[in-house]
């Protein structure tokens, strides 16, 4: 509740009364509320805020002491958990030295504010991003991607104000385009959703974003976020599109969805709340045409479920992100499929018969939606899971093998793009990373 109040820009010490009732469910006995009514009336009349602003300075320092470095590091991690700043995995304490090192990764001043993180409303400065990235095991060359992701996350059209606190277990998905993907070793191939010791950037950046959501945004389980399950939230999802294996004529996602020139370093952020592998390849002696068509049906059939996750982004967002390997995209293009025809097929074949929607109670959710376009879609039978085929995000990523595709179920009011800003000496940072991470062992895979 305090998060929600401070997130609106109000002092966080809200007038508050906790009513002595069990879990508030339909049919619960709420008559015990009366026992606390005097406090409730007092908060409506005499209560005053005693909040004193934190001031405009940088983040304060705390300390942990130990007989040895290992002892101090252990105590620091204990303190980080006790203050509820960690995620349960070991953390690098964000020392001055580590944060200064990471700040070399941005041309922006450390005090530059990117916005305020909902629901708590903490100020998202460049410095606090560097602190989170330090804790997440990050490096300076990762900071430009994190800053762009934070900017997109905080764009009101992203929907983070609601999704940070909501029960639907949304997590941000950050898709990176441009040469920076390879430069900082973001994975776009085998195991691109991680973990990957050869390409750890996505895990660090996503973990830092999660720590910002929790620490600056106040999204702690059962308090600032009511996510029932919270899956995929240790690292969120951060990966690069496999631009090297895009079929001829297929623009990078950042160009297609956000209009960035090809070759631009950019990110695209959407929210998802489900992730599943979909078997794409046939098992016997299908012709290439049959194999492609059967795979398309399996993907569309999987999407044709009345759980209504896509309602959040029905008009402007996305029903989900479909990832297909480059080898599949190229084969399908060879068979005459286009990006547009793939989307059109998915849109048409994922439509839900009205009877199925009705028996699952879908119409009540559609009718209370804030979007007029969504409410009016109730008249369509079968009901399309999104307002237009172009809302599907289709990404080329994943290992060079044709058997599987991957579906990140969208829960995303918007899909937000941001250009990535690099410092002037970015090439030096990339060279240092190659030396630090891979030089001693003979380079990648050594």
């Amino acid at each position: 509740m305090k998060n929600a109040v401070s997130g609106l820009g109000l002092a966080p010490d809200a007038a508050m009364v906790t009513f002595p009732i069990e879990m508030f469910l339909p049919g619960s006995d709420i008559t015990p509320v009366e026992a606390r009514k005097a406090e409730f009336y007092e908060r409506l009349t005499r209560w005053k805020s005693e909040f004193a602003a934190d001031g405009n300075g940088g983040s304060p320092l705390v300390s942990a002491r130990g007989a040895t470095f290992e002892d101090a590091l252990t105590r620091a991690n204990d303190l980080i958990l006790a203050r509820q700043w960690g995620d349960g995995l070991p953390i690098w304490p964000a020392t001055r030295e580590r944060v200064e090192w990471i700040l070399a990764g941005t041309p922006l001043p450390r005090e530059h504010a990117l916005g305020t993180f909902p629901p708590r409303g903490g100020v998202a400065t460049v410095e606090i991003c560097a602190i989170a990235l330090a804790m997440a095991g990050g490096r300076p060359e990762y900071l430009p991607v994190l800053v762009a992701a934070v900017e997109a996350f905080l764009d009101p059209a992203a929907g983070s104000e609601q999704l940070q606190a909501a029960s639907g277990s949304a997590f941000p998905v950050v898709i990176v385009n441009g040469p920076i993907g390879q430069q900082i070793r973001l994975n776009s191939g085998f195991g691109c959703l991680g973990p990957d010791p050869q390409r750890p950037a996505g895990a660090s950046i996503g973990r830092a974003l999660r720590l910002l959501q929790q620490n600056v945004g106040g999204a702690r389980p059962g308090v600032g976020t009511m996510a029932n399950y919270g899956g995929l939230r240790y690292t969120n999802v951060v990966f690069a599109e496999d631009e090297e294996n895009l079929p001829t004529g297929w623009p990078p996602h950042g160009t297609e969805r956000h209009g960035f020139a090809p070759g631009t370093n950019s990110i695209s952020l959407a929210f998802a709340n489900g992730a599943t592998n979909i078997r794409r390849r046939g098992a016997k002696k299908e012709t290439p045409e049959e194999d492609a068509l059967q795979g398309m049906h399996r993907m569309a059939d999987f999407m044709r479920v009345p759980n209504l996750a896509g309602l959040a982004g029905y008009e402007h967002g996305t029903p989900g992100i479909l990832m297909i390997p480059g080898v599949v995209a190229q084969t399908m293009v060879g068979l005459g499929w286009t990006k547009a025809s793939i989307r059109e097929f998915l849109w048409e074949h994922s439509r839900i018969p009205a009877e199925h929607l009705r028996r699952a109670g879908g119409y009540a959710w559609i009718e209370i939606d804030a979007s007029k376009v969504t409410r009016e879609s109730a008249a369509l039978d079968p009901w399309p899971i999104t307002s237009a085929p172009d809302n599907f995000i289709l990404i080329v990523a994943g290992g060079g093998h044709p058997t599987n595709s991957y579906w990140l179920q969208g829960y995303s009011p918007g899909v937000i793009g941001r250009e990535i800003r690099l410092p002037g000496d970015f090439a030096r940072l990339v060279a240092a990373a190659e030396q630090d991470l891979y030089g001693a062992e003979g380079g990648r895979g050594g």
């Binding site: 401070s6 609106l8 820009g9 109000l10 002092a11 966080p12 809200a14 007038a15 339909p26 619960s28 709420i30 509320v33 009366e34 009514k37 009336y41 409506l44 009349t45 005053k48 805020s49 602003a53 934190d54 405009n56 300075g57 983040s59 304060p60 320092l61 705390v62 300390s63 942990a64 002491r65 130990g66 007989a67 040895t68 470095f69 101090a72 590091l73 105590r75 620091a76 203050r83 700043w85 304490p93 964000a94 020392t95 001055r96 944060v99 305020t116 409303g121 903490g122 100020v123 400065t125 606090i128 602190i131 330090a134 804790m135 909501a166 029960s167 720590l211 620490n215 600056v216 209370i368």
Partner: protein
Amino acid sequence: MITLEFYDPSGRLEARQPHAPRLDGLAGKRIGFVSNEQWQAFRMLPLLKVLLERDFAGIEVLPVNTFPQGNALIGNEETAQEVKRSGVDAVIIGNAA
């Protein structure tokens, strides 16, 4: 002894607007509800109406449907203006999910 000094990662807060001023009392006041129209509000707000009208002389608590309801409507400027024009002394916002 080794001391590790590191940053508090929670970031600063700014209060950009004051809380609504409190009423000097509830007796004789005119109170409205703004509801997000979910089931919690339909149970809690009518109970508050009963309690307030029983405990404070001359108080008028408007019915829960006096102002626009629902998540899509309660946060917009038109609703805020309608509440202002109504001349109520205060509103209680019932919001749950």
